[in-house]
Amino acid sequence: MTTNAAAMGPGAGMKAPFVRITNASLHYGEEDESGSLALQGFDLEIARGEFVAVVGPSGCGKSTLMKLISGLTPRSSGHVTVDGVDVVRPLKTVGMAFQNPALLPWRTVLENVLLPIQVVRPHRTAFRQDRAPFVARAKALLAKVGLTGTEDRFGWQLSGGMQQRVSLCRALIHEPEILLLDEPFGALDAFTREELWDVLQTLWIERGFTILLVTHDLPEAVFLASRVHVLSSRPGRVIYTTDIDLSRPRQQDAIFTPRFVEYVHDLRAHVSRARQGT
Amino acid sequence: QTNIRFILDWSFQGQHAMFTMPVDDGTYTKLGLNVTVDRGGGSGDTVAKVASGAYDLGFADIYSMIRFNDQNPDHKLIAVMMVDDKSALAIEMKASSPIKTPQDLTGKTLASPVGDATRQLFPLFAAANKLDEKSIKWINVSPELREPLLVRGEADAITGHLTTVMLNLQNIGAQPSDIRTMAYIDFGVNLLGHAVVVKPEFAARNAEAIRNFIRGSVHGFNAMIKDPADAVASIKKRDPLVSADVEKDRIKMSLDYRMITENVLKNGASNVEPARLEGSVKDVAEAFGINKVPPASEVYTDQYLPPRSELRIIQ
C-alpha cells in the first residue's frame, strides 16, 4: 500500500506536492453503518508553503478532512501522503486548531499554549533546560492575539472567542511545517477577526509554512488563501477550485475591490450549488 | 550464643511467663542462648510456623502437632518438652443449666470455634461417656463470640480450655460459682497438653541448645510458681494492656489444672509415661481420622532433656 509514496521518497517530495490525497474515503464507525461516510473519492494536492482554504456546507466533511491529513482518523481507503510519507499515524509536524478550542482545563492559558513545546521533539529538551525563551514566545503570541494579561487564568475563565484565540496560539507556538486551522476565527467579532487575518498572513509570509484553513466566511477564505476549494455535501469531495490571484500582502481595503467581491460571489455560487446537491 | 526464635500458642498470657522470665532475668543468656519470644495465633498456626522454619521452637498442643505431621509427612515435628501434664480441655455450661452429666448433653447445642481442640476431640469424650455424638448441634463461632453466646443462652454449653474460658466468663461478668465445667481429664479422657515442639533436624543439629532451653524454661517454671507477681510483670512488659489480676488468676489456674500434677511434683517436669502417651495418641488418631498411628517415639522424645535432677519443680 505504501510502496507508491515510499518509492518517491522524501527527496522526490521537493517536486511532488507536500500533501497529496488521492481517491480517499473515510467512514466513521463500521463500514456498513449508514450516514457515517464523511469523505468519498476525495482528491486534493497542496504544495509546500501554499495557503489553501476549504469551504463547504455544514457537515460536509471539512473537519474530517483535517483529521484525515493529520492522521488523527485513519482513512478507510485511498492514499494520503504528507511530504511523501504515507499517513498511517498522527503526524508530528502539524499544528492544529480544532473547531472547538479544547483547552486542557487543568492548565492555565500560558500552560496550554506551551503544551506543544513540552511534547514536540526538538523543543521539549530545550524547554526542560530553559523555559524562559519559550515563555517569552508564548507571551508574545498571546499579545499578538490580544490576550495579554490572561496568561495565568484557566481556559474556562475566558470567553468563547478568547478561548479560540488561545487555541490558535497553541497551534502556532511550535512553528509547525503545516498548519491545520478549523474555523479559527468563528467566534470572533469582525474587527478582532480582521486583525488576526493580518497576523496570520504576516506569519505565513515570514515563515512560509503550509496552511490549510477551513472557514465559513468566504471573504476570509479569499483574503487569506492562495487557492480555495469548495467541497460538496456529505460525502465530501472537492467540486470546485479557484486560485486567488491577489497580490501579497493583502490589505484590509482589498475586501472592497471588485476582484475580491467577484471571487467571493463566485465561491458563493459554488457553495450554494454544493448545498443544493443535498 | 545460639539464636532461638520461639513462638507461643496464643497472645501473651500469664503462664507464658515460664518462657519470658528466663529471657528477662538473663537465664537463657547465661545458658548461651539468645531467645526471642513471639505471640502465636493458635496451636495449629504455631506448628505450621515451626515446620516452615519461620521459628525454631514453638509452644503448641501436642495433638495439633500429630495432626499436622499426618498431613505433612515430609515436615514432621517432634515434642521435646511436655509442659502441660494434663490437658485443660473441658466443656463449660452455666451452673443453672440442667446439664449435669455428660449424657445430659444429648441433643444440646454447643458453640465452639471449628478448630478448637476440645471440639475436635469431642468424639473421645463422647465415646468415654457413651454419649451419642451425632445428636449434638454445633455452632461455629470465632473465639470472641463463644462465651457471650453461652451467657446469652444461645448455646447450652461451650467447649474450650478451662483456663481460657473460665477467665473469659469472669471478664463478662460471670462468677466462678455461676459456671459448671466438665474437664475431659476427669471424664475418662486422659490427654496431655501443650509441649515445646521442634523440627527433628533442628533438634539434632542443636541438641545442646535445646537442652539448655529446657533448663532455662524449668527455671522459668519454678520462678513463675515462686513469684506470680513477677511473672505477670514479665508478661505485662510485653503486652502493657493485659490485666494484672486476670493474668495472676490465669497463672494460678494453669498451674492447678494443667501444669502441676502429682507426677510433676514427684518426677519433675516433662515426665511422660510412654504407655499413657501411646494410648492417648491412639485415641486421638482415631478421632482425627488418622490411619497411620504414629509410634510414641515419633511424637515425643526425652533425649534432649537435661538430667532429671535439673527438672525438679518445687511448689
Partner: protein, 256 residues
Amino acid sequence: MKYKRTIRRAAYSASPWIATIGFFLSWELGCRLLNVPPFILPTPSAAIGSLLEYRDGIWLNASHTLVTTLLGFALAVVFGAGLGVIVGGSPLLYRALNPLLIGFNSIPKVAVVPILVLWFGIGFVPAVLTAFLVAFFPITVNVATGIVTMQPELRDVLRSLGASRTDILFRVGLPCSMPYFFASLKIAITLAFVGSVISETVASNVGIGYLMMSASATFRVPLVFAALLVIAGMGIIMYAAAAVLEWRFAGWAMRT
C-alpha cells in the same frame, strides 16, 4: 497486513486466558523449584486436585456464599449509590457525613461481625450485612465524586431550564457518574466477597468462609486454596456481568 491484524485480534481476545494460565504456571513452577511445602503455599495443581476431590462440598458452600454475597452486594449497590447521590448532591451532607463514613470504613469489619451475630443470630443475616457494610463505601465515594465533578457546562444546560436540584442530579449528575459507578462496582464486588467470607469465618455453619476455617484447622491447606480459587472465580464471573452493564450504560464515556 490483514493477517497481522487477525493475529493481534486473537491475542487480544485470548489475553485474559494467557495471563491467567501464565500466572498459574509460574505459581506451580515457583512452588516446585523453591520446594515450598504445601502447608505454606500449595501448588495450584494440588489446589485444583482438592477442588475436584471435594467438589460437592465446595459447591454446596460456594453457592451459599454466592447467594449471601449477591444479596449483600445488591444492598450495597442500592444503598451506596443512593447515599452517593444524596451526598454528591448536597455539599452540606457531603461535609457532615464524610468523617463518619471514613471513620466507619477504616474499622476492620471483623470487629463488627460479632456484634451483628449477637444481634441477628448466627449465619445468613450477619454475612449479608457484612458484605453490604464492606462494599457500599466505594460505591458511595465514586458516585458522589462523579456527581461533584460533573461538567459545569452540562449542568448549566439543566439549570437554564429551571430544573430542580433533583432533576439536575438525575439527568446530568447520575449519567456523568456512571463511569465512576461502574468502576466502583468492580471494587465493591470483590469487597462483598471478602465481607461475606470473613463473616462466615467468624460465625457460620456453612459457606466458603466456614470451609476455609475448618480446612485450615485440619491443615488441609490445598483445600483452603481450592476455596480461595472458587471465590476468585465467582468474583470474576460477577465482574464480567457488571462489565456488560458498563458497556451498555457508560459506553458513551469511552467514545473514540
